[in-house]
Symmetry: C3
Subunit: 147 residues, 3 copies
């Protein structure tokens, strides 16, 4: 017998307070649980080019502040190299940071839930200094079941 | 009632004029429309290690020239660090640029089309200086329907 | 007639000897062949934040040693920028390297096998200096068939 294939798609809007990483693991896990998929994949997509998605160590907050410090040195705001500056000194760096990380993530689902590693968290990374509302689409696909 | 699951797979060959970003949003959208998928995912894969895929701001061309300038500074051609130089000063930098960006992209499909953000375009990024023909495989999977 | 949809999911554990790239193309191809999927997608996910996945040129080993040299310069061990240092000088650099590359890869499947480009290999990139056991989940999804 073949299990039914389920497709579930939903939107998530995250209000950010400006540059920084926002843990969305719980929200994504909830969408996966609600989808009715027992085994398959979950896909996250952020509809912006100045915010991105990462999977990052979730235990020590210093990891994420170090990551921010690394990017600030690698892709500094106000870099005289950039000509796309109309929207501010952090605009072009936000696009570069976004391209060096991920616009989408695909994650395995088993037993009706996300199966991340122990130290893996899912983060939305806001690259602009000002607060923004960021829209994500979550698509869950797999075999129907409750685990 | 469960909608039928559709799998559509096609090839796309892009002739590049050498290093630079090539907007392929229209071509990808066309494949998605032709697939018969109403809701699901589209996957793009580039079969090369010296060209890559990015989602980038699509309004101001300066964003993409700034991006090129950033990479030229970060991963310069002719870097004395590199030993893999037989195929030219731009060969190893092309591999590094490819690895720092994406070999594949997965994008959400709804209402029988791609649902990108307003400012998101899909680009093939040619990293070699000479013109090349680049092969992509596009796989669209989802529930059948016309939106 | 619609072909049956197959979902196959398996685990792969790779024992690494410490920092470096490990070719897993054969192992992944074997899982794809065993899945019974003729046409679809294969998804690889590494359950760690200090090891990652890349698709890289597979002919000249100098490409991968150059890549390692590039990362050693870009994200050096013992960088005084980092505060997350309890687990060693290579710990935070491993997290950064992981985020600059990929935690997951999605690859096209056709004719019951992976369809990579001629020069594309799949590598697990261990970023820690000491040996580790790295767990991957492989999910293969597509139309049933033997090619």
């Amino acid at each position: 017998m073949t299990a039914d294939t389920v497709w579930a798609q939903s939107r998530l809007v995250i209000a950010t307070d400006g540059r920084g990483t926002y843990d969305i693991t719980t929200e994504i896990g909830r969408e996966v649980n609600a989808s009715g998929v027992a085994r398959g994949l979950a896909h996250l997509f952020v509809h912006h080019t100045s915010a991105s998605l990462i999977i990052c160590e979730n235990a020590d907050p210093a990891v994420r502040s170090d990551l921010e410090a690394f990017m600030a040195r690698q892709v500094p705001d106000g870099d005289p190299l950039f000509r796309h500056v109309d929207e501010g000194a952090d605009d072009m760096p936000a696009h570069v940071r976004s391209i060096l990380t991920q616009t989408s993530l695909t994650l395995p689902v088993a037993d009706a839930g996300l199966i991340l590693g122990t130290w893996q968290g899912i983060y939305l990374w806001e690259h602009r200094r000002r607060p923004h509302r960021r829209t994500l689409t979550i698509t869950v696909n797999g075999e129907a079941g409750t685990g």
